[in-house]
């Protein structure tokens, strides 16, 4: 059983309240909570796309596998941005995830589970879906791993498998916030929706997205606006807000759409929606080229 502090940290992380999590002070280095809290903080930094801060946070030379893994993930994310060689870092994570099967590693079971989740995350980021799933394990009993697995399944359009994984985890997992979250994420993709009702910018964004999916565009817009107020440039909130504005379809909202898109496109040129729309634009030109346009009919 986790201490209440650690429980809180974990909840914060799951809810995506990364900022407030980072602001927490670390427990005593000898406390059993120390390493997990540190790992969550480092992960929060990475989640906020600030791997350098994560690297500063993590002590160098630690033999703890979870810390090693989080450092590797931070380096990996940093390398992705710098377009450096990521293969070596993936190898490191590969080694770590093999190592934890052995006996002589430093770290608790929780640490080992964290290694799998972090390695799985990196593999998924690198597009190594198969390896990610293998690493996370088909028979895992770690909800965080299930969460990652479910998202991977959803990203490859297998909501059926995601549901199966969720059903499976319900058999062994206790009712947990994470479990509810998993259920609602599956719901978002398949049409059976949940209504998360907690307030952190992340959750607000999630609720906004949920409402978009429920065709409640004005309500979605207000959620997303609030989320953007709290966390100014959250890419998902920006993207969702643009979508919601577009669907509200009033004169004013149309101007908003363009503004929001411009913001998203300039700040997050690699956000999948930006990349995707750019791709579609090219696709349009390609498809259009198949039709020859005759001259405009005119009397002249």
């Amino acid at each position: 059983m986790d201490s209440s502090e650690l429980y809180h940290v974990k909840q914060q992380f799951v809810l995506g309240a990364y900022k407030s999590l980072i602001d927490l002070s670390l427990p005593d280095p000898n406390s059993p909570d120390y390493t997990p809290t540190l790992v969550y903080q480092a992960r929060s930094h990475i989640a906020l796309n600030d791997p350098k801060a994560a690297l500063q946070l993590a002590p160098t030379g630690s033999e703890n596998v979870a810390l090693k893994a989080v450092v590797a993930l931070a380096k990996f994310v940093a390398a992705e941005e710098a377009a450096d060689d990521k293969e070596a870092l993936l190898e490191e994570l590969r080694d770590l995830s093999l190592e934890i099967d052995g006996d002589d590693v430093e770290g608790t079971e929780r640490d080992k589970a964290t290694v799998r989740v972090l390695a799985g995350t990196a593999f998924a980021r690198a597009g190594e879906v198969e390896e990610a799933l293998e690493t996370l394990g088909a028979d895992t009993e770690d909800l965080e791993a299930v969460f990652v697995i479910v998202q991977i399944y959803l990203s490859i359009n297998r909501p059926d498998l995601a549901k199966k994984e969720y059903e499976r985890s319900k058999r062994w997992a206790e009712d947990d916030l994470l479990l509810q979250l998993i259920e609602s994420i599956i719901g978002l993709s398949t049409g059976k929706d949940e209504n998360p009702s907690l307030s952190s910018p992340h959750v607000l964004t999630a609720r906004g997205v949920t409402r978009i999916l429920r065709n409640e565009f004005s309500e979605a817009k207000s959620d997303l606006d609030e989320s953007l107020e709290q966390h100014k440039n959250d890419p998902d909130a920006l993207a969702a807000s643009a979508v919601a504005s577009g669907l509200v379809s009033t004169k004013k909202s149309e101007a908003d759409v363009d503004e929001l898109w411009a913001r998203l496109a300039s700040q997050y040129p690699t956000h999948p929606s930006v990349v995707d729309v750019a791709k579609k634009s090219d696709l349009f030109d390609e498809a259009m080229a198949k039709y020859t346009v005759p001259a405009i009919a005119s009397a002249a």
């Binding site: 994310v77 879906v129 390896e131 990203s155 978002l188 997205v209 929606s273 498809a287 346009v293 005119s298």
Partner: protein, 1198 residues
């Protein structure tokens, strides 16, 4: 994806070493518990176990030509075993290694064994002298593998020291003078390190030579497989294969194809392209790490050992795709379509299909269409593809390159595709569960939702399909779209129709269902061994092949073996005594066999006696089985004709009541029990002469006498009396006397045996007083002594007289049993029996082809109607959603969770499938199909102005969320029916609604009123564009849509005319005529009254200025009809009055308001009723014919 098919699997302790026997279906497995298993992988049985090693056996290998096995284990010992069952034993043990053995191998020609060990050495042993003849030192860590080169005097070894080494051992062959043990120094002169291959950055587990090329493959703990090339002088790394995410245990070259197979501790077996070094396929196990791999030297077979057993698998389906038409077999070998003539055995290539699907996957099925000389081929790669191609004339293929199917092939995705008519083929898409019927130009003419979860489709006779489902097969009528019949069966894999399409064989893995044309009758055959293929014999017998037999099966379900097979074959046709088939490498072969047995059985079934007789006359080969069969089936009389053994003949003869044969055989057997049974049978049939004979033979006097009595044969009875006399048997004598009615004789018997009282009375009763006295006397009595004996009077008893001369007759019997055969066999009239004629088996008989054509014609009629329907036809839309109501719930396929999850169908694909609306296709990002729809439905060609709308709709239909920290955000799709969760009904959100467009239209109208015509023109144009991509959900919305398109068109036209008029007024002030015309036309646009007033007032002003008072007055009158403001009314009245005063027009203009007209939207001139015009397919705006093919200046998109 190519296929990995598991052929055999066993559970055991961890398998560390594996080896295939080069010729027999044997596999040796070295286990972690010290045991060596010998499996027959074809039969799936454990043949033997050798258990003398202590500790894990990592090394096993068969001798290339002798029945020997060499093994090495953790007990440091190498053992050589004789594996013949009769003298299975360990022949000898080689000692010398100082640590665990890793691999062992026999040399291909020399009596050498190579071994390697954790003691860092490789040793070569002479298996004759059983001495170590070389020690190869140099590795600085465990040596994990060491193998001889298949031809040259080389050895390749892999070690934990991260190197692969190639050793030259040619010195060894020259013969070593020193073969004694213990003198290691000398060995090194015979073997030298040739190359040290460095590149792996962890220990190397395995290294092997290519069977023919100068290549080496190595597998290492750094998770890579490396390919090395060597020349005479050097060796270098070529490339690496990356993908395993744990230690690679072993990697092999495919013995025949350019492939690499590897396995590792990441629980996978992987296949790689040797040329491109890319991963082709992964085979995964849930919990077991793989430790060893073996390849069969000749067959497409591999074995892999893992934590809890071993698997034997092959890499690709070997069943070649083929189809038979008349005398030609069309089949695919090495990705070429070939034609084989059954009669001339000519075999030519026709077409290359190399570019179709994955290069590693052979096509799965081929369907041939004789009318078009075309084929439809399917392949399993890329989730299933089909290709329709015409075959070139065989003559044109002679010399030069063969045509490649990519030249004119029409492709699409689909798992199963077959021709169903001369110019129609059906394609099944398994994931969407839709069957499309397509014509030869590959366009869909009909879409079918199969009534059951369909895995494969087959030709089902004219206009029918056979649908193979998980637990049944369905006969489905394409035209009526309904199920005709359903038969329970395991999943059907192949279907074969007989020659006249009256019977069909439905083949599953272990069953064959033989059904008639409409499935109303069927029979089922079970096979324990896997069924591979089948073909119909000319005579209507189904011949099929299993893994190791060719068998036949009759329609009522009888089956039997024709011959055994060494390797599976795929039957293509059976004619006479020849089976035509394709072997595993798709080469045509023939097998000659004796069809007598099944032909005979068939004839028997059909009561075809001539055929049976012919067989009886001509064949010699009829064993016990057929007799047993005949007997069992109730045809003993027929069996009789095949029996030589007299005992059996007798039995059969008795059984079928053939007394002649029974007597004949009984005589030769001559045993009492036979005669007795014969007597019984003969008695049953009333043939007393035979009964008599049998009784005589068995000396059954009592019964014989009784028989004579029964038949009234008095002579014989008296004879019997004599015999009885001779035998001195008083009882018999008495019987006979009694039967014969011979009183004297009776008395005589009684007297002889001393029964005087009876003798006396008998005599007395028959009035033989004298004799009675005599008896009395003889008994020493007088008449007085017998006073008390009552007098019985004269007895009249005597045997009845014979009325019929039964003695000479036998009971008449029906001649049913001994009909045709006996007659035929006896008369010899069919001595030279005529062989019955057979029909040739053709894929499609002429008659059925004609029927197909008729059906196809029907289809064509439908097709002609189709193009008329299009556009925003919401009736079609309604039908569309209705058809979903009977959509089958998607059967949830049981799929294992885990790393092997294949990507599914994305939401956007569902959108595209579920909607015929361009807007929905745009939302799905399928711009291509959206454009096609717009082009087809509304004639849109200029898409440029639509780009912002396309992109904004697409953008508005998707949103993103990052649930898991640091993972890329998940794309979510916004639906307009959020409560819907069935994938077949989901639709994207409607980004633009009619409502919002209507408000935009109103803006435009306001601009008109406010005289902001340029803005208004832009707004209406934008409205027209937006209307192209709006989602309509009901008929009333469709009507509103049409109205709005029309209004927008009219306003746009009006505004454009007015703008043109202003331009003319400004730029060509002298052109009053044009000015007036345009003003007049403007009033003929359909505008709302308030806007119409503006148009009319403008016209009045212009016309009055030009002194065309008559026209002006007309406009004023029209204005008055609209009931304008009082002020305007006043001006209008003045104009009317002026017109009446002076009803003239100063300027002659082309304007006839009394004939109805359209306005050409390009030239702004009137097109009067009856004049030719063309319409814009979208807005219906009219144009002069000269503008045909130009862009609509109003919407600018058509």
């Amino acid at each position: 994806m190519s296929v990995m098919l598991t052929k055999f699997e066993s559970k055991s302790n961890r398998v560390k070493g594996l080896a295939f026997h080069p010729t027999q279906p044997l596999l040796a497995a070295g286990l972690h518990n010290g045991s060596i298993q010998l499996w027959n992988y074809r039969m799936g049985v454990l043949v033997d176990r050798f258990e003398e090693h202590e500790g894990p056996v990592r090394a096993v290998q068969f001798h290339p030509s002798r029945a020997l096995l060499v093994s090495g284990a953790d007990d440091y010992k190498i053992k050589v075993w004789d594996i013949r069952p009769q003298n299975r034993r360990c022949l000898f043990t080689l000692h010398g290694h100082l640590d665990y053995l890793r691999t062992t191998q026999f040399h291909h020609e020399m009596p050498w064994i190579i071994s390697c060990s954790d003691d860092q050495t490789i040793r070569i042993w002479n298996s004759t002298s059983r001495n170590c003849i070389a020690v190869l030192t140099g590795h600085s860590h465990y040596v994990m593998s060491a193998f001889f080169h298949p031809k040259d005097d080389l050895v390749v070894s892999a070690s934990m020291d991260q190197t692969v080494r190639v050793w030259d051992i040619s010195g060894l062959r020259k013969g070593s003078p020193n073969t004694g043990p213990g003198n290691f120094e000398t060995f090194d002169t015979f073997s030298t390190v040739k190359y040290v291959l460095e590149g792996h950055d962890r220990g190397v587990n395995y290294a092997t030579f290519h069977p023919t090329l100068p290549l080496i493959l190595s597998a290492a703990d750094d998770r890579t497989i490396k390919i090395w090339r060597m020349s005479e002088t050097k060796a270098w790394e070529v490339d690496s294969c990356r993908g395993h995410f744990n230690n690679v245990s072993a990697a092999l070259f495919h013995p025949k194809h350019e492939l690499i197979v590897s396995c590792g501790e990441d629980k996978t077996v992987r296949v790689w392209d040797l040329a491109k070094r890319t991963a082709i396929q992964t085979f995964r196990r849930e919990h077991d790490r793989f430790w060893d791999l073996a390849a069969h030297p000749n067959l497409n077979l591999f074995a892999a050992g893992h934590d809890s057993g071993l698997i034997v698998f092959k890499l690709e389906r070997e069943r070649p795709a083929f189809a038979v038409h008349q005398n030609t077999l069309y089949y695919i070998r090495d990705k070429y379509v070939r034609a084989y003539d059954f009669e001339t055995a000519s075999d030519i290539g026709l077409l290359s299909v190399r570019k179709f699907g994955s290069p590693y996957v052979p096509p799965r099925t081929l369907s041939f269409n004789p009318a078009e000389n075309a084929v439809v081929i399917t392949i399993a790669s890329d989730n299933g593809l089909y290709e329709l191609t015409t075959l070139p004339k065989p003559s044109s293929a002679q010399g030069g390159e063969l045509k490649d199917s990519s030249v004119d092939g029409k492709r699409g995705s689909g798992t199963s595709a077959i021709f169903v008519a001369r110019n129609r083929f059906a394609v099944l898409n398994k994931t969407t569960q839709i069957i499309e019927v397509r014509d030869t130009s590959n366009s869909v003419v009909k879409t079918i939702k199969p009534p059951v979860q369909t895995n494969e489709i087959f030709y089902g006779g004219t206009a029918c399909l056979i649908l193979s489902s998980t637990a049944s097969v369905v006969l489905y009528d394409i035209q009526q779209q309904k199920t005709l019949a359903e038969v329970n069966s395991p999943p059907v894999k192949y279907v074969m129709w007989n020659a006249d399409s009256s019977v069909v064989a439905l083949m599953s893995k272990h069953t064959i269902t033989i059904a008639n044309r409409n499935f109303s009758q069927h029979s089922l055959i079970h096979e324990t061994i896997r069924i591979k293929s089948g073909a119909w014999d000319d005579a209507g017998v189904f011949i099929y092949s299993t893994l190791n037999h060719v068998k036949y099966c009759l329609s009522q379900g009888d089956h039997g073996v024709i011959c055994t097979l060494d390797n599976p074959v795929y039957l293509t046709r059976v004619k006479g005594k020849t089976i035509y088939c394709l072997d595993r490498s798709a080469r045509p072969r023939t097998i000659t066999f004796d069809p007598t047995e099944y032909r005979f059985k068939l004839a028997l079934l059909k009561n075809n006696y001539e055929e049976m007789l012919y067989i009886i006359k001509t064949s010699t080969l009829l064993g016990q089985s057929i007799i047993a069969y005949l007997q069992q089936k109730g045809f003993p009389e027929i069996a009789l004709h095949f029996v030589q053994d007299t005992n059996t003949r007798f039995e059969l003869a008795i059984e079928c009541g053939n007394l002649d044969v029974a007597v004949e055989t009984a005589e030769s057997i001559d045993r009492p029990d036979c005669w007795e049974r014969l007597a019984q049978q003969a008695l049953k049939q009333g043939n007393h002469k035979i009964v008599e004979k049998a009784y005589q033979r068995t000396k059954n006097f009592d019964k014989l006498s009784f028989l004579y009595l029964a038949t009234g044969s008095t002579d014989k009875l008296s004879k019997m009396q004599k015999i009885a006399d001779a035998r001195g048997n008083p009882m018999s004598r008495f019987h006979n006397a009694l039967y014969a009615g011979d009183v004297m004789s009776r008395i005589s018997v009684l007297r002889d045996v001393g029964m005087y009282p009876l003798a006396y009375l008998t005599a007395k009763n028959h009035g033989l007083e004298e004799l009675a006295e005599e008896i009395l006397e003889a008994a020493g009595l007088s008449a007085a002594d017998v006073d008390d004996v009552p007098s019985f009077g004269q007895s009249t008893r005597k045997p009845p007289p014979a009325i019929n001369p039964t003695t000479d007759l036998i009971w008449p019997s029906l001649s049913a049993g001994e009909n045709f055969f006996d007659r035929a066999l006896a008369s010899g009239s069919l001595e030279n029996g005529i062989e019955p004629t057979y029909v040739n088996g053709d894929a499609a008989a002429a008659g059925s082809l004609a029927a197909l054509d008729d059906w196809a014609k029907d289809e064509e009629v439908h097709e002609d109607i189709d193009p008329e329907e299009g556009g925003w036809d919401l009736d079609t839309g309604g039908e569309f959603s209705a058809s979903h109501d009977n959509a089958v719930e998607e059967v949830e396929e049981e799929e294992e969770l885990g790393a092997g999850a294949a990507p599914g169908i994305s939401e956007v694909e569902h959108w595209v499938r579920n909607s015929p609306l361009a807007a929905d296709h745009v939302a799905a990002g399928s711009f291509d199909t959206a454009m096609q729809l717009l082009n087809r439905q509304l004639g849109v060609v200029n898409f440029e102005p639509l780009k912002p709308i396309f992109l904004s709709i697409y953008r508005s239909s998707h949103t993103y969320l990052s649930p898991v920290a640091s993972l890329p955000p998940l794309q979510l799709h916004i639906r307009r029916n959020p409560s819907e969760s069935a994938p077949s009904k989901v639709l994207p959100v409607a980004a633009r609604s009619l409502q919002s467009i209507r408000s935009e239209f109103a803006d435009g109208a306001r601009d008109v009123a406010g005289n902001r015509l340029v803005e208004a023109q832009a707004t209406f144009r934008s409205v027209l564009k937006a209307l192209l991509l709006v989602v309509l959900t009901s008929d009333s919305e469709a009507k509103q849509w049409r109205d709005m398109v029309t209004s927008a068109r009219e306003y746009l036209l009006g505004v454009s005319i007015e703008l043109e008029r202003r331009r003319v007024a400004q730029e060509e002030p002298d052109n009053t005529k044009r000015n007036l015309e345009l003003a007049a036309y403007f009033t003929h646009c359909q505008l709302q009254p308030v806007h119409m007033q503006i148009a009319l007032r403008s016209a009045i002003t212009v016309f009055r200025k030009a002194n065309n008072s008559a026209h002006a007055a007309r406009f004023a009158k029209r204005l008055l009809e609209l009931k304008p403001d009082a002020k305007i009314v006043a001006t209008a009245r003045q104009t009317v009055a002026a017109g009446e005063r002076n009803p003239r027009n100063a300027v002659e203009i082309s304007y006839d308001e009394f004939t109805s007209f359209e306005i050409c939207a390009a030239s702004f001139t009137a097109i009067y009723k009856g004049s030719p015009s063309i319409q814009c397919p979208y807005t219906n705006a009219s144009f002069l014919p000269q503008f045909k093919g130009s862009l609509d200046p109003l919407s600018r998109v058509d």
